[in-house]
Amino acid sequence: MTRFIGFLVAAVLSLALAGGAWAEGTLRIGMTAADIPYTGGQTDNGFEGFRFVGYQIYEPLINWDLSRSDKLPSLVPGLAESWEVSKSDPKKWIFKLRRNVKFHDGSAFNADAVLFTFDSIKNKQAAQFDQYGSAQISWRLSALKAMKKLDDYTIELETPTVTSFVPYQIVYMVIVSPAQWNKVKDWRKFAEQPSGTGPFKVARFVPRERLELDANKGYWDPKRTPKVDKVVLLPMPEPTTRLAALRSGQVDWIEVPPPDSIAQLKGGGFQIVTNKYPHNWGHILRLDKEPWNNKAVRKAANYAIDRVGICKSLLNDTCVPGTGVVYKGHPWFGNPKETYDYDPAKAKEILKAAGFDGASKRPARAVALISTSGSGQMLPLAMNELIQKNLKDVGIDVDLHPIEWNSLTQRFRIGFTGENAGVNALNISFNFLEPFSGFGRFFHSKSVPPTSVNIMPFVSPESDKLLDEAEKTFDLAKQDAILAKLHELVVDEAPWIFVAHDLNPRAMTAKVKGFVPPQSWFVDLTQVSVAK
């Protein structure tokens, strides 16, 4: 009762004191990012940057369709109306660009803008080369070798090899306004007054504190012109801070509420929104040394984990058990032989058959590098302590070395050498948005460092063959089938300890309407409205 009265009093007070600062239809979001993502185009802060800045202010030639919850987003025309492989040369793609699109600064979008953006990422000699933005994104654009303007609304893209993965990469490159950049000739200044073609434009930018976006009422797609007038983005890396901000009415929407608070939030009339999305949380194992060079130990480890316990009791149903790289129901899941249910007895059996009796004869001690927090890492300390216990119960000993998230991403990059020589497992979360990020970078022999992050290393001629074939297959359904076969191979090889897939929990007030949670890392804010 006290809480209810308190809430009323606070509501009245805050209305009285708000001084009418917000127009109706303002959506205030608490992000997990520690700072405002880079607004200069090719954004940082990983996918949260794309989610709230990159894809709101800017657009790529090809978009994700984020309008549905019931299936994976498909690729749809964005700033390009159509695209196809050239019939004469499979290493060339022709993009027909959309007409009558204006940047926020009023200048027209055309092929020049696309080339300008391409050079800002790929051409070190260009005046507009964005060193920072380029470092964020160019590794994702390996298939984009060169771009040529055929006419004002047609672009030809050249790829180094024949690859069907081009659209998946094009989707990462957002287009910036050359006219606006040429006014300031500096990326930092451009970041303060950015100009893209997206459904939102920057109204106010206070570094480290807030980013205010206004709806772009002149957006080219009338179906996606924002319903809400204003979006305010606030960095709130601390989960309790986000929670407090939501409950006290400072924000309308928070990313990743603390799992423990979900029951209370539901009871308090807040909406909890979840959905599957291409996220994987697990341990990457070192395959060339003990203990994980023994397939039996890897399989046993996967049967020893109480995934349901983790997701239900620890994370309050904000994740689902993961027994592979992708989740069940994903077109790439296939039909793996190993099901990896929670079966400690089976795990012990597997170990016994391999010569480990669980008492004096145990596998070599595993040393796992984990993080203390981090985007997409969920609750790493709590989850890993459970995993450690699960593994100990079947006879596998694990030491946990928690380090800070940024250190982890750096040490991940170098692989199991140098500083990591004593480590044989790494806990880091990933996306599998498209074939390269899901499989290519891990399971192809040419992806070993420094080219990419196959640090295990996972070397299998069969896997290489499937990946190469997938890259040459332009029919999406056939490509999915090939990748599903690859997935079955990977699951049975168990190069990782598969644990869980996050469900991307968000909490919002009851006044937020119209949001459709897609099966994606990104969101469409244009259909959202905030009721009075």
Partner: protein, 312 residues
Amino acid sequence: MWRYVGRRLVLAIPTLLGASIIVFSMVHLAPGDPISAILPVDASKEQIDDIKKAYGFDKPLPVQYLKWLGRVVQGDLGKSIATRRAVILDVRDSLANSLVLAVSSSLLAFGGGIALGLLAAFRQGRALDKVASAMAVIGVSVPHYWAGIILIIVFSVQLNWLPAMGASSDGGLIEYLRHMTLPTIALALIPLGVIARVARSAALDILNQEFVLALRAKGLAHRRVFSHVVKNAAPQIITVLGLQFGFQLGGSVLVEAVFSWPGTGYLLNLAIFQRDMPVLQGVILVLATFFVLLNLLVDVLQTYIDPRIARH
């Protein structure tokens, strides 16, 4: 006296120089590489090296130090790796917020502390003294970050009277004050306790002097005794006030972490997390400089009030 001031100022320079060396070495000896904090996992080695060169991280440490120092004395604290903004701007903004918090919690701590301390001294041995002294000890012993959490639980979560985080740069003055309330209280607790105890102890010293006892026995007016006590206790109290203000400015990290108050502590925390070296160096150096100058001011004030105290 001005010679004393001059001498102290000159002495402060090697101190600050030494501090700058410490700051620089601490930050650069830390494990973890700042560039990887802001680049995605898969960025190529070439790109990492390019950015390192752009920030001058490829040069040997002493060279980097001298270049940094050279720019610092011209007022340029470098560029933040995370935001690519001038560090001086970040420091200025966050310092403003921290100063606001430090000043308001100082007012609370000083006012409350002196009042509590004097009250206890003048009522020595009686119930009021015991209560006031107890409150002072509690103030000194409480971990302020825990106190902050308790305040959030009570006033924000349960009662929903006050906001739990941030500084609200848009709601106007009243919103700002509302956001400021809980962090101010949390930050004021320890200094309040310290000041109360020092004030009590200093006042008691004077009150227990024989001639004061005699005067009081003879019936000297309360007000005269009071002003005598205040005048003579002032040096010690001022020393403590200065120290505590420095504590609140530099030591607000924990409270700012709990409340996400965008001050220097919050910036420091973020910079450590992001391994943003230029920001770390800039913030710590600025705070240290502030602290040194503050100590200087306090020493000078003390000497001014009581010239006998001039230190070697």
